[in-house]
């Protein structure tokens, strides 16, 4: 792009030499800072022929008043606007998909849908039509997959007008919905599958397990009592009866003295906290300001719209300029509302523990699908076969936490995604590890590694 710009310059030699010098200076300037300049030139080409997305280009520190900079900027702006205006939204008649907006139900309807987008968007009704949620409708229109129409006379079938993008934006019922749509389309463009959590039938917490789970609940209480008992053991009297013989014993007993809120880590704990949560929510409903906006699945060609598996992530939306940042209580109630593939649970077959109408999802799958799932699990196990040391696992636990959700923070059109997780520092044994000595004895290993590296370096030099 740079060369093109320079070749378009005037023929005047003086100007040319000046500019090439200046441009040389420009290009060697320090610009590691923030690489966010958008090079729309490549995008314009892309609008004509499908290619790979261009890389971002270079930027300058500040305007220096030279013509070179001004032409570069002029070209950059022009290409940007050309790329936008030369990529019209729409369809050729052969692939025409008409979607009708319904003001009353605030949805879009496609009577005869064509294309693969229906695999994970919309719902099929009894008449075989695809009903789109409003955000799905606007996303498909912006993408140029369907053409929006509005019927204004029910008696006359041909009485329909074509809607524009502006018309569709005018139908957003509140700005929260528009913010939700922005997050939806952002993630959709990245290939994720998104749906509202309200209509999902699959759950990790089937009501039959929760109500019959009183035993677990009691066990939990008993466990807490045992803890109190243990703490009382750490009295001066105890020192006489059971004197400490090593540092390790001191540390282990010290740990019992630290009080902490309990973090949910196992399936049984998850089920029991959800049971408690149910009792709480019945008493005091949580304020409706913060709710899970979308369930998020990683791209998956075998995605089932009717009976999906548990989502991989759950996402909340927060408008920075409109709302106060959620409080600790808000976060707490959200953590208890989460219902997704809790990735910290090891060795779990997700189809077995996710339930649809209180029946395990595994039983609902056809034999063919079961085979496919088993094949997938087998592959995953193969991948995860690598043994990781306890130290690394502990660091991972501390860093990643347990239950988590994603908070999309919106600031006037920009979206930042933040992961918020429950961490547990209190029960992790970070100061004392009996295995550490063994690991340390492996310091020879690191020496070996170093010697290997030096060997490699030598061979490189030899080459």
């Amino acid at each position: 792009m740079k060369n093109d710009n320079l070749s378009n310059r005037d023929d005047n030699e003086d100007v040319d030499t000046e500019e090439t010098l200046a441009s040389h200076l420009l290009y060697t300037s320090d610009d590691d800072d923030e690489v966010t300049r958008q090079d729309w030139t490549e995008m314009l080409k892309l609008s004509q022929v499908q290619q790979i997305i261009p890389k971002r280009g270079d930027k300058d520190y500040e305007p220096d008043g030279t013509n070179v900079q001004q032409t570069l900027l002029f070209n950059a702006r022009n290409t940007m606007f050309d790329a936008i205006s030369e990529a019209p939204r729409g369809l050729i008649i052969k692939h025409l998909n008409k979607a009708y907006y319904n003001i009353g139900s605030h949805t879009g309807i496609i009577y005869h849908a064509k294309g693969s987008f229906i695999n994970n968007i919309g719902k099929t009704n009894s008449k075989g039509q695809i009903v789109l949620q409003f955000y799905e409708f606007v996303y498909l229109v912006e993408r140029g997959t369907v053409i929006p129409y509005l019927k204004f006379d029910e008696d006359n079938e041909e009485a329909e007008i074509q809607l524009s993008v502006q018309d569709l934006y005018s139908f957003f019922r509140n700005q929260q919905e528009l913010d939700e749509f922005m997050v939806y389309s952002h993630l959709k463009r990245l290939g994720y599958i998104l749906h509202k959590p309200e209509n999902r039938k699959t759950t990790f917490f089937p009501s039959n397990l929760l109500t019959t789970n009183n035993n677990l609940f009691c066990q939990n209480k008993a466990f807490q009592l045992w803890n109190i008992f243990k703490i009382s053991l750490a009295s001066p009297l105890n020192l006489l009866l059971l004197p400490y013989r090593s540092n390790a014993e001191i540390y282990i007993n010290l740990q019992k003295l630290i009080s902490h809120s309990k973090v949910v880590k196992t399936r049984a704990e998850l089920l029991s906290t959800s049971h408690q949560q149910q009792i709480h929510t019945e008493k005091a409903p949580v304020s409706g300001s913060l709710n899970i906006a979308f369930d998020l699945w990683k791209p998956n060609p075998n995605f089932k719209k009717k009976c999906p598996d548990l989502p991989d992530f759950q996402i909340l939306i927060h408008n920075k300029n409109l709302q106060n940042f959620p409080t600790f209580d808000d976060f707490h109630s959200i953590f208890n509302k989460l219902d997704y593939k809790f990735e910290f649970l090891d060795d779990i077959e997700w189809d077995e523990v996710s339930y649809v109408n209180e029946i395990s999802r595994k039983q609902l799958l056809t034999p063919k699908q079961q085979k496919q799932q088993q094949f997938n699990i087998h592959n995953e196990q193969k991948k995860n076969k690598k043994r990781v040391s306890e130290n690394v696992l502990q660091l991972r636990r501390l860093k990643n936490g347990f239950r988590k959700f994603i908070l999309a923070v919106i600031d006037d059109g920009l979206i930042n995604f933040i992961t918020i997780a429950e961490a547990d520092f209190s029960t992790e044994n970070v100061w004392y590890e009996p295995q550490r000595n063994k690991v340390r004895s492996g310091s020879n290993k690191s020496k070996n590694r170093n010697s290997k590296q030096t060997k490699r370096d030598k061979t490189k030099k030899d080459v």
Binding site: L72, V165, N174, H186
Partner: protein, 349 residues
């Protein structure tokens, strides 16, 4: 209120109003949207070229629909930006949700006659568009055939009616139906006097409403926007030319933990220099109920470190609450109601 009373020359910024009240907002009576949008490419161009206004493109670019770096229409403006544009007479607010707000909440109540006339207009335009496409494609096809047979096609050759009837049906499936960005429903009734009056009243009401909610951020924005930076390069100084003055480009700043980010020129070409933090409020009036915001040392260290890391200066605006006007009509740009302090990590130690 806008200084320029002629709305025909200024640009419409679309904003929704009379929405069902939201549970999320702090103010329970709020029924308006805070999202100003633009749908016309020419208007967006004008804003960028003539007024140094950026906004954020939020629509999917249909030619590359699987990425988030390059987006398309509509353009979402910052609220402060929109208030400034309208208050300085360059733009005016226009109602976005005109259909759902005109009492036509279900299909039966839509004014059928009006809709029919729009449908007719749309049909005529689409037919014209299709014909032009056909002509272009047909000519291309003829040229290809001629190339194959080594003959020439006359450039001004007319397409006869028989040709049209013969080939149009064959070619029809490959013709393109576009989705327009701007609404034909709203443009249809643009020129009537009553409409103009309604727009002006709406625009004034929205500005007043938004100013009430965002006045402190707006004061900061206004100072940054109206500050003229002298720009003199070495060559100009040698030749004794007058210096150009340039304005800052401002965009939302949550990516760097601030309220705004300030660029010395168009961000397409230049790095940003400053992160403007949310304003701190101070009062000089001892009798007022407002309290003065404190400065958190850790916050300073945090922003100082961040600023050094990303090579930007952190700026803290301080606003004298007693000197900020309560209503936008009495708002006058005075220097003494806002002061800026920049934070930098000194290179000692």
């Amino acid at each position: 209120m806008s200084k320029n009373n002629d709305t025909s020359q200024s640009i419409p910024i679309y904003i929704a109003d009379n929405l069902p009240s939201l549970p999320v907002t702090n103010d329970d009576n709020v029924t308006h949207s805070d999202i100003p949008l633009l749908f016309d490419i020419q208007a967006i161009k004008k804003l960028r070229y003539e007024m140094d206004i950026l906004g954020v493109l939020i629509g999917t670019l249909p030619s590359a629909s699987q990425q988030n770096l390059f987006l398309s229409i509509p353009l979402r403006l910052m609220v402060e930006e929109a208030i400034w544009l309208v208050n300085s007479g360059k733009c005016y607010f226009k109602k976005l949700n005109y259909i759902t707000n005109t009492g036509a909440n279900c299909d039966d109540e839509l004014p059928k006659k009006y809709m029919h006339s729009i449908k007719n207009l749309q049909d005529i335009e689409l037919k014209k568009y299709m014909k032009r496409q056909f002509e272009y494609k047909y000519k291309l096809k003829l040229e290809k055939e001629a190339q194959f047979c080594n003959t020439k096609v006359k450039s001004d050759a007319m397409i006869t009616r028989t040709d049209f009837e013969k080939h149009y049906k064959k070619m029809e499936p490959s013709l393109f139906i576009p989705i327009s960005n701007t609404s034909s429903l709203i443009a249809h009734d643009e020129h009537s006097y009553r409409k103009y009056q309604a727009d002006k009243e709406f625009s004034d009401r929205m500005v007043r409403y938004l100013y009430k909610r965002y006045k402190y951020d707006y004061v900061v924005y206004k100072h940054l926007r109206e500050y003229k930076r002298e720009q003199r390069c070495v060559e100009d100084m040698e030749e004794g030319k007058d210096s150009d003055s340039e304005r800052f480009y401002i965009s939302p700043g949550s990516k760097f933990g601030g309220r705004f980010i300030v660029y010395p020129g168009d961000p397409l070409r230049y790095h940003s220099h400053m992160i403007i933090q949310s304003p701190k409020l101070i009062t000089t009036d001892n009798n007022s109920s407002d309290t003065t915001d404190g400065i958190d040392l850790l916050e300073l260290v945090c922003s100082g470190r961040l600023g050094t890391g990303v090579k930007k200066t952190c700026v803290y605006p301080f606003i004298n609450v007693t000197k900020v006007a309560k209503d936008i009509t009495t708002d006058q740009s005075s220097i003494d109601n806002c002061s800026f302090y920049s934070i930098e990590w000194s290179g000692f130690g």
